[in-house]
């Protein structure tokens, strides 16, 4: 290749110094990226450190927090909001940048400096393998797609579901054999613009409210959630108080905190007590009937309960201020979380939606929810949709009927799997799993394949560019294993690392042998 040897840029890109520097930086990235995995969640840490050109300041902070934490310095953990913050700026080179630079470095060094000799053949091979490995990894990042198949005995599936993506589905009957499905990606629900589709015959959909991760709750569930929160608050503070008291010597701030806790705790305890025993029935009644004379009715009920249990009058009266305070708070919380929709199976049951922090850990998923408005030819109605349930709701628009639901996005296949049997063995006397195995019937009419396959740990099924792995076994409420979860991966580049590694290994072994022979010869000649 015709290149100017003295060009400073050429010199830089072909130099071994750059290689060493890049290796050192990649060492730092790998280390920091590992440290950040716990605070950020593995998926996000991988995206921010390895699958990006630059590492942002939040990700760096996460790595820093974990690093000082293992050296015994306690720090505030990062909140999910902070992690997902939009304002981020680059502070450190990321995996892609280093990968690209290494590629350039390698290629230009070979073009410029290296002349092939048998003595350096191993190094040559090794570098080709490394290039292939880097490219293969990039290919995997770009093209691979992961999804899951959940099956119980006897189930037949010709689709897998996504772990991250969800869709709003409108299903209408065309005739006895087929349905028409319109799927709207969840990302469109994050905006408030109207959505429509030719297949919907003029139906318009608009998202009014959207939660990335949320738990819809019935009135009773909502009350339970609130009283649990009271108990948690009480327990947390009591634990903190005990902790402070045990320490003995306290600083000024800590002493003030302890005093505050000592003062607050009795009230908190009363509220917790109250929440558990008296408020439930009342608030369930209230959520149903919306009565106005809340306090009166509450105290009436309270007095009646007091008579039932051996509790002194004085103690009962002392509860009053705490109860009032809690009621006020309760009102506000209920108003904030209430959703008002026009009906449907979900809207009738779920009266509240409690937002949850976005899921960060790699084995947790988000359960989004939304309130949507459906404008049809005759009327406009509001609906609650959520991923927490698989129930569909019926929407009537004139003479047309749709079934709507929010569900994990589906990837349809041309073949199907039916679960014939599953095995879940544990070692005797332990909970350690010994074997997971799903026996499925693979049916692909197009390829004329119909066979029984066993999928277990370390023994996946490969078919039609997809690989099915045994992922999990779930138990039902009776404790028997009934559901298998298969992970489905489409990765067109899955073979590249195999080749790359073979080439690198050959190169290294070749080079190592050459050194060994040379070393032995040298020794013999001395």
């Amino acid at each position: 290749m015709a290149m100017n040897n003295n060009n400073i840029i050429v010199k830089l890109f072909t130099s071994l110094k750059l290689t060493v520097a890049l290796l050192a930086i990649s060492l730092a990235i790998v280390f920091l990226g590992t440290m950040a995995q716990e605070p950020l969640g593995q998926k996000i840490a991988v995206e921010r450190f390895f699958q990006s050109f630059f590492v942002d300041q939040v990700a760096m902070e996460a790595a820093y927090i974990k690093t000082v934490q293992i050296f015994g310095v306690a720090t505030e953990p990062l909140s999910p909001e902070r992690i997902l913050e939009a304002k981020r700026w680059p502070v450190f080179p990321g995996g892609y940048l280093i990968g690209v630079l290494l590629l350039i470095n390698l290629l230009s060094a070979h073009a410029q400096r290296f002349t092939f000799t048998w003595k350096k053949g191993g190094i040559f091979l090794t570098h080709i393998g490394i290039i292939l490995l880097l490219l293969g990894q990039l290919l995997t990042d770009l093209l691979s797609q992961e999804s899951f198949v959940h099956m119980e005995r006897g189930d037949r599936r010709h689709f897998s579901v996504s772990f991250d993506n969800n869709e709003l589905v409108l299903l209408s009957h065309v005739n006895a054999q087929s349905n028409r499905v319109v799927a709207i990606p969840e990302s469109l629900l994050e905006r408030t613009a109207e959505v429509t589709h030719p297949d919907l015959d003029g139906l318009k959909i608009r998202s009014l409210q959207h939660w990335v991760n949320a738990a819809p709750k019935s009135a009773r569930q909502f009350v339970d959630w609130f009283s649990e929160k009271q108990t948690d608050r009480f327990n947390d503070r009591e634990r903190r108080k005990v902790q402070l008291e045990k320490r003995g010597k306290l600083g000024k701030a800590e002493q003030a905190e302890l005093d505050q806790l000592t003062a607050d705790l009795p009230e908190l305890q009363q509220r917790q007590f109250f929440a558990q025993f008296f408020a439930r029935d009342f608030y369930i009644a209230r959520a149903k009937e919306e009565t106005a004379e809340e306090l009166k009715e509450l105290l009436e009920m309270f007095r009646k309960r007091v008579e039932e249990v051996p509790l002194s009058e004085a103690k009962a009266n002392s509860f009053k201020p705490a109860i009032l305070a809690m009621m006020k708070e309760w009102e506000a919380v209920a108003a904030r979380h209430a959703v008002k929709v026009d009906g449907g199976r979900l809207g009738d049951f779920y009266k509240f939606v409690v937002p949850l922090p976005p899921a960060l850990a790699s084995d947790q998923r988000n359960f989004p929810a939304a309130v949507i408005e459906i404008k049809g030819a005759t009327a406009s109605t509001k609906w609650l949709v959520t991923c927490q349930t698989e129930l569909t709701q019926r929407v009537d628009d004139g003479n047309k009927t749709y079934h709507i639901s929010l569900r994990p996005a589906r990837h349809y296949k041309e073949h199907s799997l039916s679960l014939v049997d599953l095995k879940y063995e544990k070692y005797a006397g332990t909970e350690t799993p010994k074997n997971f195995e799903s026996i499925v019937l693979l049916d692909d009419a197009k390829a004329n394949v119909q066979r029984k396959v066993s999928i277990s740990m370390n023994a996946p099924l490969r078919h039609d560019g997809l690989t099915y792995y045994q992922y999990q076994m779930n138990q039902n409420q009776l404790g028997s294993t009934s559901q298998t979860v298969l992970q489905v991966v489409r990765n067109p580049g899955w073979l590249t690392p195999y080749f790359a590694c073979l080439i690198v290994a050959l190169g290294l072994i070749y080079q190592f042998l050459i050194h060994l022979v040379g070393f032995a010869r040298k020794r013999r000649s001395t």
């Binding site: 060492l27 440290m35 370390n458």
Partner: protein, 777 residues
């Protein structure tokens, strides 16, 4: 210099050694071999009870068949951190004696174990199996043994035990009797702490959790053979918690149990109550009544006593009603309804049920729920596959409690239960002859009923435990290390040769141990962190020994000795976590990948460490002594460079094989999992060293410093990433190990600083400055 001249010669010159010193290495080798032969003698029980035969009996725990000896060793290691229980020591006023005597003075304060300088004192002690026998069969004695190791001062203060127990240079040991009042609160605390992620627990919480855990283990063992009582309440009557004559009890159960059980089943059916719940309730009643003395013999009196106790409980519950949580309320209602059903019966039926519940149902059910050992093999007739148990029908071994409860209903007690009953009675009554006969009879029963494989496994593993090959080779490595290091001081050839021979012998034993483990487990050498330490040591020693064979300058021996000793010490500490041959989770259960990926990656670790230790030899010898000549330095550099190449090859191939395994089982070649990243760090670091060298960015000393840092990187990948509590294949958190890791890191960084000092500060600086300064890649 003598060494360096020798290192440059093609073959060692025995002529350099004169006279009798020529034979010294052989003498050293023969002495060491005698030590090994002595250790390999089959064990014999000291004393009348044949605890060796007892220790060989097979049973099932954590999914694998093993001898009771292994249970005893691993349990005692987890509880006390050592394999012996001293029975004697020093009193507060330096009087020597048994603990029972010493405890009488000053309320048991100020006791301490034998000090290292008390050469004349040889305390009587229990080894692990006799200790286990006490725990299983004579809990009243076992409860007085000082075995529970606690050292967190705050925890001790909280339990009011600071001055109690027995001291061993800061570590304190306590008996179960001393722990008993805190058992319940510790159990509750364990549940609370269990919810906190490992990495976020503070040292206080960690020691509390650990203590609660080992107490739980002790309680489990205590319930495994016979229905010993835990006696958590204050005991007034002084009824022993053990069983006086277990064999007789079992005989009586087999005779009368059937009828009583039928009456109980009848009642459960009629009243619609829950049998397990009833038994638990009566467990508490039984504890309370037994505190007041033995049960009355007349039905009327017993019934009256029960009614009184139960109504008192009910009234107490009613009073607490307003303070109960919803869950407690539910339980309360269950108790109410159970009591109501019981109180409607006539007194004679009440007494009959109570006797069954107190002496059988609740006792054995409690025993079953608390025990951990599956002592009872599957009975020949309830196995449909005939009499062949050779492939370890592990799923059908059972706990004693459940076996007895089933047997009571059929009226026929299985032989293994009665065999253990006979052993217990003989042991409690101090009849060694009867005990040994009972063990023998049980062994022959196992023989006759298709358990040869299990017996054989028990016998072999017992012998393996007894000979402790890794511990033996550890001592030999240490000795070799010292000899090799001394050989540089006075440059003596015979010391160097002795070290070389010793390393060879230790390596043979190390290898034998490794093979024995592989045969016992039926697996490739590396299956968990413990075995990785053993294997890293093995690989490094092999490489070091080869280096010594080639260069003959003591450096190979010294490094091999150092790494062999260190890794085996690490393995020894890791064994404190429990059974080292634990079963493998489904995804790891593949011998092919364990044999290829894990072995390669471990060799990668081993060789990176070897390079690092050679570099340490370079820096320490160069800075502290005058023995590092330019030639030695150059040969060291050659060694390090070669080993780094080797390490690069294996760590890369191992990492890649790991990726392929991950692709086969999880569907991705590379997932940036913590452990994967750790392996990648080693590969990158080795690549960096090699590129620095090729680019002439470093010379010999720079190479050494980089190699030293390689130790830090490897230690991090091997242990550090396991401590982050993330990732698919982390082995678990080890807090104490982490501190060691920190010091390991700091000391290495310090050594790198030392290694970077200008040469004229080095003791060997002059030689190095004078010598050839061309890098020798």
């Amino acid at each position: 210099m003598n060494t360096d001249k020798v290192s440059d010669q093609k073959t060692p010159a025995p002529a350099a050694e004169q006279g009798w010193t020529r034979w010294l290495p052989w003498v050293v080798l023969i002495l060491a071999a005698l030590y090994i032969v002595g250790a390999a003698q089959p064990p014999k029980a000291k004393g009348d009870f044949d605890y060796v035969a007892f220790g060989r009996l097979p049973m099932l725990l954590n999914g694998r068949i093993k001898p009771l000896d292994t249970v005893a060793r691993t349990s005692l290691l987890q509880i006390a951190g050592q394999q012996k229980v001293p029975l004697e020591g020093n009193g507060p006023d330096r009087t020597w004696g048994e603990w029972d005597e010493l405890q009488k003075a000053d309320g048991g304060r100020g006791l301490y174990f034998r000090k290292w300088y008390q050469f004349g004192k040889r305390p009587k002690s229990l080894s692990s199996t006799p200790w286990l026998m006490e725990v299983l069969m004579r809990p009243d004695v076992a409860d007085t043994r000082f075995v529970f190791r606690v050292h967190h001062p705050e925890l001790l203060r909280e339990m009011g035990l600071e001055e109690k127990g027995v001291d061993q240079s800061g570590l304190r040991f306590y008996s179960f009797n001393q722990m008993r009042p805190h058992l319940l609160s510790l159990h509750r605390e364990k549940e609370r702490i269990g919810k906190i992620p490992d990495a976020q627990r503070n040292p206080y919480e960690q020691s509390k959790y650990k203590l609660a855990h080992v107490l739980e283990l002790y309680v489990q063992l205590r319930h495994s053979l016979q229905p010993n009582r835990l006696d958590l309440g204050p005991r007034a009557g002084g009824v022993p918690s053990g069983v006086a004559d277990y064999a007789a009890d079992l005989k009586q159960l087999a005779r009368d149990g059937k009828q009583q059980a039928a009456a109980f089943d009848q009642f459960i059916k009629e009243s619609g109550q829950h049998a397990g719940f009833f038994s638990t309730m009566f467990q508490h009643v039984g504890d309370r009544l037994l505190e007041q003395g033995a049960l009355p013999a007349e039905d009327e009196a017993l019934a009256a006593l029960l009614v009184k106790d139960l109504t008192a409980v009910r009234d107490g519950n009613r009073e607490r009603l307003p303070d109960m949580s919803p869950a407690e309320r539910e339980q309360y209602q269950q108790v109410e309804s159970a009591l109501a059903a019981f109180l409607t019966l006539d007194p004679s039926r009440q007494a009959g049920l109570a006797r069954h519940l107190l002496s059988v149902q609740s006792r054995y059910q409690t025993m079953d729920s608390r025990a951990n050992l599956l002592l009872i093999p599957p009975m020949p007739d309830d196995d449909h596959t005939g009499h062949d148990h050779s492939d370890g029908h592990t799923h059908s071994w059972t706990k004693t409690g459940a076996t007895v409860l089933t047997a009571v209903r059929t009226g026929k007690m299985p032989e293994p239960v009665t065999a253990y009953g006979a052993m217990s009675t003989a042991f409690v009554q101090g009849k060694p002859g009867d005990f040994n006969t009972a063990v023998l009879l049980y062994v022959s029963w196992l023989h006759g009923n298709g358990f040869q494989a299990a017996l054989d496994k028990g016998r072999k593993e017992h012998y393996f435990n007894h000979t402790a090959p890794f511990a033996r080779s550890m001592y030999l490595y240490l000795l070799a290390l010292l000899l090799a290091a001394f050989s540089w001081l006075n440059l003596s050839r015979w010391l160097m040769r002795s070290a070389f021979y010793l390393i060879g012998l230790a390596f043979l034993i190390h290898t034998a141990g490794l093979i024995a483990r592989m045969l016992l487990e039926g697996r490739p050498p590396v299956t968990n962190l413990y075995s990785s330490a053993v294997f890293v040591g093995w690989g490094s020693v092999l490489l070091g020994w080869i280096l010594e064979r080639v260069f003959r300058n003591g450096i190979g021996s010294c490094t091999a000795g150092a790494i062999g000793f260190t890794t085996l010490i690490i393995a020894d500490h890791l064994a404190l976590e429990g059974d080292t041959m634990e079963m493998m989770r489904a995804v790891l259960d593949t011998n092919f990948w364990l044999a290829t990926h894990v072995t390669c990656i471990t060799i990668g670790y081993a060789s990176t460490f070897l390079a690092g230790f050679l570099a340490l030899v370079y820096v320490l010898r160069g800075t502290l002594t005058r023995t590092l000549s330019a030639e030695t330095a150059q040969s060291l550099a050659r060694m390090v460079y070669g080993i780094v190449c080797f390490a690069m090859l294996f760590s890369f191939v191992g990492t890649v094989l790991g990726g392929i395994w991950a692709d086969q089982s999880w569907g991705r070649f590379w997932g940036w999992d913590a452990k994967e990243n750790g392996a990648l760090l080693i590969v990158i670091w080795n690549a960096l060293i090699l590129h620095c060298r090729w680019g002439r960015l470093v010379r010999d000393r720079g190479l050494m410093n980089l190699a030293i840092f390689g130790n830090v990187v490897t230690a991090w990948s091997w242990f550090g990433v396991n401590m982050l509590g993330i990732g698919l294949h982390s082995y678990g958190f080890m807090d104490e190990a982490f501190n060691t890791l920190k010091w390991f890191g700091f000391s290495h960084i310090l050594l790198i600083v030392v290694g970077s000092l200008p040469l004229h500060y080095w003791a060997s600086g002059k030689e190095l400055l004078a010598g050839p300064s061309q890098p020798s890649a």
